[in-house]
Symmetry: C2
Subunit: 993 residues, 2 copies
């Protein structure tokens, strides 16, 4: 089937579904979304159903036509359905059938992929649709555009036409696809592709493009000033395209990028605002054309039809494919909340099982009681003396209360409350039927489910992880009727997608598992996971390999299928020449494949997991292999390009990468790091050899940011730098430090193992923190665009866990001295506070008591390593029985002097009483001992000898005597004792003090 035939069929298909068939836009765009037929029409209440082709330009993706399926231009087929017709995914799958794609022969899967276009102020939730591992469509529920919440939500379906046609034609490269009339895609487009790549990467004039951007922006504003929405939008698109070319040309630094995005976002928002205002003024004309659908009324619960004895409850929430993490999260919540909710509702049950697949969250309750337990309810009435006359006759008050409570006066009883008698009414409330109760609480149960990101999709306005499309709620053989998110509960579940998701009518709750099994759906996540693990292991073993443990990956794959079928794919051995990290990163990040290893070496195989039972896996296997081949071809392209030069040769390019406007380029930063690393080496007491390695590593540590591999796979920063360093002939220690300086990349990640590695890592973080705070870019609220929280945490972790005793303030001062701007003491103080806050949080996360953490930080915050040591030691101490004694020893003198901020002079000669004199001597001994210690153990040893003298002192001496001189002299003595822990921990902050 030719490329053009596919387009013609899609047009025909979507026209048949009531869509307007639109045309590609006449301005270069980075996505069909940017066509006003999407980005503007999704705004506001008007219905809009449209389908069109869009040529999509992504300069950064150009490969000079050398990659089989990645070009800087490609064709999208874009569909917008607004509002959601209720079954958009099914319609979409039907469209694939119209293209001749048989869902029983291909592994079609929905893999979470949320979408965000900051430049358009737009985002949505949805999936990539994979066919045999190949992404063929992006499917999104638009939540926001132009900064506006969308109501109704639009369904956006974006087909990648080339990918689909390649599969249909069985060709391995864009170039060889037949377009039509005997002409190939390559015939018509390859030269242009090569030229555009050359233009975008090598030829475009940065200076002129920047001027163009500014002119486009100015004209966008000019048009907006005259309230000309579409002309303004066109210029926003031109800004966007120009930005993309500048970006491909390597002319945009990190901070500049943020600024450009902000500029585009502002414009987009103005355009969206203008558009909405215009439509409103026009009276939303398309709204008038649309008919309102009538809602089906909900049937009431008829308890008489429900079972009279304990029965099974089945609740199945049928959704479109849930993201893997959401599935686990939701199941956990159901496990927590269901029993609680039933219990609260006075319904008894034997047990609750929670199961789930990407398309269903299932709660099974066994032997649920047919009705609530009866309940006695007592209501307090007037005082007994007011309710009954002396003779015991009920008064008016008693009658009134009884009437209000619906009981007879005779049934009133009395109870004593706080020594006084009151009239009470006792009522036995009959438990309602389970059906009635469940009709109330099941929707509330669903509503309680929370997700990290949730979305709206229909008029109900309900937010959920993904759209709910059906709900099964059966108690025994009866439906518990309720409505949630516009969906009415029933007895119909749906089968497996590869089988067309057939409707399956359940006779009763217990029939569920059989029905699922018949449909080849494994509802139990653990069973699926085990099955995947064992299938994969078997396949790996068949080529003498094994699958390395990777629980997160295994879990994710488990949640991508309802029926796992693992398959072994192969890739060309030539790719094994690429670094293993690259190959594995590509497999995992892009494809969710399991790598197959042998003796720590990657084998040229992978394991993919398809959804459903298939008669013939060859098509699917070949598809997956093709996808990986294309990915690896891409990686090889980068690797070849990158290794054509020495790592050091990438350094000059860092000068074109802005780190931050006022802080200069990344190259400027590198220059600072080299110097800072030297200072830190000294502060941290590194050897000279370590210092030299660290300086060289600092010199090279960011060079890989300019390599294509890292531009493409950011997660490989440091990894590639290290690899490329070795290939460039650098010392292995230098390469190692380059790798390590990014560690830890996330919570739980490794820490640098070598001193040079950690020195560079520290320097990098300290430079960013001090620099960005100094230019006012500290994190605010939830926004932390520069990842400074993570940087601070990393700093703290490295220092403390790797035992580097370093003064933060000294390090910060050293960093500040290297910056191209003045940093005030105030600013340094702010950074310091910020890092200490992270330190505090981290110590708390480690499980230390907050009082002990605060006690430590009060004295040792400047040195995270020491803080950790102190809090650890202190924590040990508080567990010992002796601690309470020692704390009292300290608290008695120190409490009394707390209110005297100034230190009184101590005149030993005025200490006349023996207890005073004894304490004075003990204090002198303690002071002497204190001078030689610096930890909690030492402090405790210092305090221990004071216990007895202090006790005696307070027993025998009254401090607060009238005579001022004596009083102040005694206070002076106590102040000396109170000062002893200073510099170690602040014991006044310890609980019990």
């Amino acid at each position: 089937m030719d490329f053009q035939e596919v387009i013609m069929r899609l047009n025909r298909f979507w026209a048949g579904k009531g869509c307007l068939i639109w045309q590609p836009y006449n301005v270069q765009v980075g996505a069909g979304t940017m066509n006003p037929a999407t980005v503007l029409r999704v705004l506001g209440p008007e219905p809009w159903h449209v389908g069109y082709v869009e040529l999509t330009i992504r300069p950064q993706d150009g490969r000079y036509g050398e990659n089989p399926n990645r070009w800087q231009q490609f064709y999208q087929y874009q569909v917008i359905l607004k509002p959601d017709p209720g079954n958009p995914l099914e319609i979409y799958l039907e469209s694939l059938e119209a293209l001749g794609i048989n869902p029983r022969e291909h592994d079609i899967r929905l893999v979470e992929d949320n979408w965000e276009a900051p430049a358009l102020g737009a985002w949505g939730l949805g999936w990539e649709v994979w066919m045999d591992g190949q992404e063929i469509t992006q499917y999104t529920y638009f939540q926001q555009a132009g900064g506006f919440d969308l109501d109704p939500v639009s369904v956006e379906i974006t087909y990648g036409l080339e990918r689909i046609v390649m599969v249909l034609q069985g060709v391995r490269d864009f170039v060889h696809m037949g377009w039509g009339a005997g002409i190939t895609y390559g015939d018509v487009l390859l030269r242009s592709e090569v030229e555009h790549c050359n233009y975008n990467f090598e030829t475009a004039s940065v200076e002129r493009l920047m001027q163009l951007y500014d002119l486009f922006e100015a004209e966008a504003k000019n048009a907006l000033g005259a309230v000309l929405i579409i002309p303004a939008h066109d210029y926003v698109l031109k800004c966007s395209h120009t930005f993309n070319v500048l970006d491909a040309r390597g002319a945009i630094g990190v901070t500049e990028r943020a600024r450009y995005f902000a500029r585009m976002r502002d414009l987009s928002r103005e355009v969206a605002t203008g558009y909405l205002a215009q439509r409103k003024k026009m009276g939303f004309p398309l709204l008038k054309k649309a008919a309102n659908a009538q809602a089906r009324p909900l049937a009431p619960v008829d308890p008489s039809r429900f079972p009279r004895k304990p029965a099974s409850l089945l609740l199945e929430i049928g959704t479109e494919e849930l993201p893997a993490a959401d599935l686990d999260f939701a199941m956990q919540q159901l496990r927590d909340k269901t029993p609680q909710m039933l219990t609260d509702a006075r319904l008894s049950f034997e047990d609750v099982r929670v199961l789930g697949t990407p398309r269903r969250l299932t709660v099974c309750v066994r032997r649920l009681s047919p009705a609530q337990a009866d309940e006695e309810r007592l209501t307090k009435g007037p005082p007994a003396e007011a309710a009954f006359a002396k003779q015991g006759q009920p008064t008016k008050a008693a009658f009134g209360f009884a009437k209000a409570q619906g009981v007879s006066v005779e049934d009133l009883q009395t109870r004593e409350y706080e020594g006084k008698n009151y009239v009470v009414a006792m009522k036995t409330e009959r438990g309602r039927s389970a059906a009635e109760v469940l009709a109330d609480i099941l929707p509330r149960l669903i509503a309680l489910l929370k997700f990290t990101k949730s979305m709206r999709w229909n008029r109900s306005g309900v937010a959920f992880s993904r759209p709910i499309r059906w709900i099964v709620a059966l108690l025994g053989d009866q439906v518990i009727p309720f409505e949630f998110a516009g969906v009415q509960s029933g007895r119909i579940t749906r089968g497996l997608r590869p089988r067309g998701s057939p409707d399956i009518k359940l006779s009763d709750a217990d029939a569920y598992f059989e029905a699922m099994k018949a449909q080849s759906i494994v509802v139990d996540a653990e069973a699926r996971q085990d099955s995947i693990a064992s299938q994969s292991a078997k396949l790996a073993a068949s080529v003498s390999g094994r699958i390395p443990d990777d629980p997160p990956l295994l879990r994710e794959v488990t949640h991508l299928v309802e029926w796992p079928t693992a398959l072994l794919g192969e890739f060309d051995e030539q790719y094994l020449e690429l670094p293993q990290e690259v190959l594995v990163a590509v497999m995992k990040k892009h494809q969710r494949y399991f790598p197959v290893m042998k003796d720590g070496q990657l084998l040229p195989y992978f394991v993919a997991v398809a959804n459903g039972p298939f008669e013939n896996l060859d098509v699917i296997r070949r598809g997956n292999e093709e996808v990986l081949r294309a990915r690896y071809s891409d990686a090889a392209f980068f690797y070849k390009a990158d290794t054509g030069r020495k790592l050091e040769d990438f350094l000059p390019r860092l000068d074109t990468l802005t780190f931050q406007d006022r802080l200069g380029s990344v190259l400027d930063k590198v220059t600072r790091l080299e110097k800072l690393v030297s200072s830190l080496a000294q502060l941290a007491g590194a050897t000279d050899a370590e210092r030299q390695v660290a300086v060289r590593a600092a010199h090279l540590c960011k060079a890989d940011l300019a390599t294509q591999m890292v531009v493409e796979l950011t997660s490989l920063q440091g990894v590639m730098g290290s690899q490329y360093a070795l290939l460039s002939g650098e010392e292995p220690e230098v390469a190692q430090a380059i790798y390590e300086h990014y560690l830890p990349r996330s919570a739980g990640d490794d820490l640098p193992q070598t001193v040079p590695g950690l020195l560079v890592g520290l320097a990098d973080r300290i430079d960013s923190l001090v620099g960005l705070f100094a230019v006012g870019l500290s994190p605010t609220g939830s926004a932390d665009p520069y990842g400074l929280r993570r940087a601070a945490l990393g700093l703290v972790q490295i220092l403390s866990e790797r035992g580097i005793s370093l003064s933060l303030s000294e390090a910060f001062r050293a960093a500040a001295a290297l910056l191209p701007l003045e940093v005030s003491e105030d600013e340094l103080g702010t950074v310091h506070d910020f890092v200490v806050q992270r330190l505090r949080g981290w110590l708390l996360d480690l499980g230390y008591r907050y009082d002990l953490v605060d006690a430590t930080l009060a004295e040792r915050a400047d040195n995270p390593y020491q803080s950790l040591e102190m809090v650890r030691s202190l924590s040990d101490w508080v567990e010992r029985p002796e601690f309470a004694v020692l704390l009292t020893t300290y608290s008695r003198p120190s409490r009394i002097v707390r209110e005297y901020p100034t230190e009184f002079p101590l005149h030993p000669e005025m200490l006349t009483e023996s207890a005073e004199r004894e304490l004075y001597r003990a204090m002198l001994g303690a002071q002497k001992q204190r001078a030689s210690i610096n930890d909690v153990d030492g402090l405790m040893a210092v305090l221990r000898p004071l216990t007895q003298p202090i006790d005696t002192f307070f027993d025998q001496v009254f401090v607060m005597v009238e005579e001022q001189a004596v009083r102040e002299n005694r206070l002076a003595l106590l102040q000396r004792i109170a000062a002893l822990p200073r510099g170690i921990v602040d014991l006044t902050k310890v609980l019990g003090y």
Copy 2:
């Protein structure tokens, strides 16, 4: 049928015809042509068949959505067929049927419309396709692109989708067309249309757009420098669009326009050159894919099958629709050349008739002889003495000659040549059969036809007015076989387009007229013309009106149809409020309708002429009415906009219209004209009142160039100025002068009737001539971009025909003094010569003898009026018998002195002979008389008394005596006589002198 349905059907249709179905371009373009799929792919030898939609942006055409069918954006469906498949028009008509357009119900016509895109260095010949008067398609045979001749030629078919859909849906406005899914064209596009109009006409920043243009151009060059063809092309398109917006914004003057075009043309040519080089380097890959069609061999002539007695010859050259002018021109050539060619070929005949319709040129020869007359041929051989021995025996030389000539020695004869005998061979050559001769000469006859513009269309490389699609060549009942332009002659002609152009097999030549009649084809142009005239007159009479005489229009309409069916259409009376000139201009220029008048007033009717017999004319009438309505709506839009201001208020806009770089703006010119008009009034002896009117008219004469009506309908310049002047409260005389100053607009046009009108007209032309010559922009070769030849001719005509006696040199000097630059005497001389050349040509065109014209111009060239007077008078004189006598009277003395350039002193006392003395006295009398006359009559009267004295003098006196003093004195006397005509005419230039 929805808009989207039409697109889907066209895609399907053209895909079925082997076309690649392409996509709209992602850069704003002014035509589908600019998509690389056309403008680049038409270059070079590779085959290319493509169809696609293109959104076309023409800022200038915006009407804020208020015109029913003219918007600044519209959709084209573009098809390229390369090479010409042989029947592209038929395929196109089939595509209309695929859209449900029944050719038997609609009047579908092809109206000449050639296409040129200077910015692309491209042009082609073709038609507008009209359906019921509405242009629905542009059909072009591309001849050149990027400055390159195209080989093969491409067929370009550009559908105007909106126009077609309007007809299909029977709606009267773009806005109400259904696009699809219940949504109208207006729903999706009206707001955007209004906004774009606002942006293009009012809001766009001229300064920024000019900067954008420069940046785009610089990037185009940058890309070209790196040989990146498509990126460069994209920037050329961006230049073009930016230019178009600037133009709509009114920011481009005439000369600037030319400069912008030159810049774009240069870029386009470079892009084309680069593209061709690239394809060549690639080895023209698509060429390899194409199979070569095998040519059918031509059958030889078999004379035995042809009639043996005189028979009719029919030659029908079947073409695609010929332009009206070409049809007349070709018929005239056939009338001239056919008899001559037959005669030269020794074929006798009774008569030759030439007929024609837009689709056929027909030659009918009656009673053509079956064979050539026999011919005797004589060849001269060796001298007789060498050929025959003394005894008369033939020598070796005779044998050799006889053998070479193919005769026997006995048949040799002798002939005398220049007094010497030679051997000759006499051969009787039998005439060849007419069939054989015709097979030779008929293709040569066709090849002889010339056209103003001709085109190539297929591999034969033959150029013709339009493609030849069939040739009928019958002698009696036999085909004369030949091939011309890749077409083989035969006996099959084709019927009427509305009937699907059925093939019609002719049994013999004489069957032709019956066959044509049966097909409702009137082959005789005069018969068609008469039919149109009488049908139209009848229709006009039915509403009590009449059709004003307009022979060129009548002729054109005659040549647009094969079977004329006139119909009466109506338009809304409200439009009669517009100036009649506007209404008529629109009818004629755009629609070729006949206006219907009554007592000099336009009636709200028109007569259109459809092609073919139709059962029901209502659809066609309504279609034509709709078209005119849209046109009038447009005119009303302009009129309303223009009359919202006073005419004078348009003047400032003239300052933004560059007249010429160094000569300033049109406003500068106007300022000069006001002054020049004053000077000319004085020189021409106008009254003061006339001068005042002329000055005011000069002030306003160009103001209408800034009005929308004139921008749209340039032919109305002056007409609108005059109308708007009246509406602005100017004096009627001023309005009249504004109108008249453009007269004569073309050969045969009226001249200004009022003195102010002609004064402004003279000033305008003189300013242009002197100014443009001074800056070096005189016409060269055939190029006359500023129309200076016409200006000079107009100048000459006005002066002479309107009897204005004015010295050109004085007028030129006055004009030069007003220019913003120095004009040298040399330059003034060059302009003067140029104008005199036009004067000479014009006098010759009037029929005056060139010798008399030259005689006159030798003396009176500076004053065209006097020149005309003189040559007219002289022409009368030469007809009189007396003139010869008088010429002799003059020639005898004047010839003798011609070789003496210096004038000798005349000493009367030395004239001694009576004849001398008598002549001297006569001469004195003549001199005296000469002083009081200034015309030819006077001159003749001066010469007449000299006849007798001169005769006597030459009889009795010998001038050239030896004695120098006497001789020179006599010559001196004759010189005085020879000088008499000086200042009137130069008689020495008259034939017979």
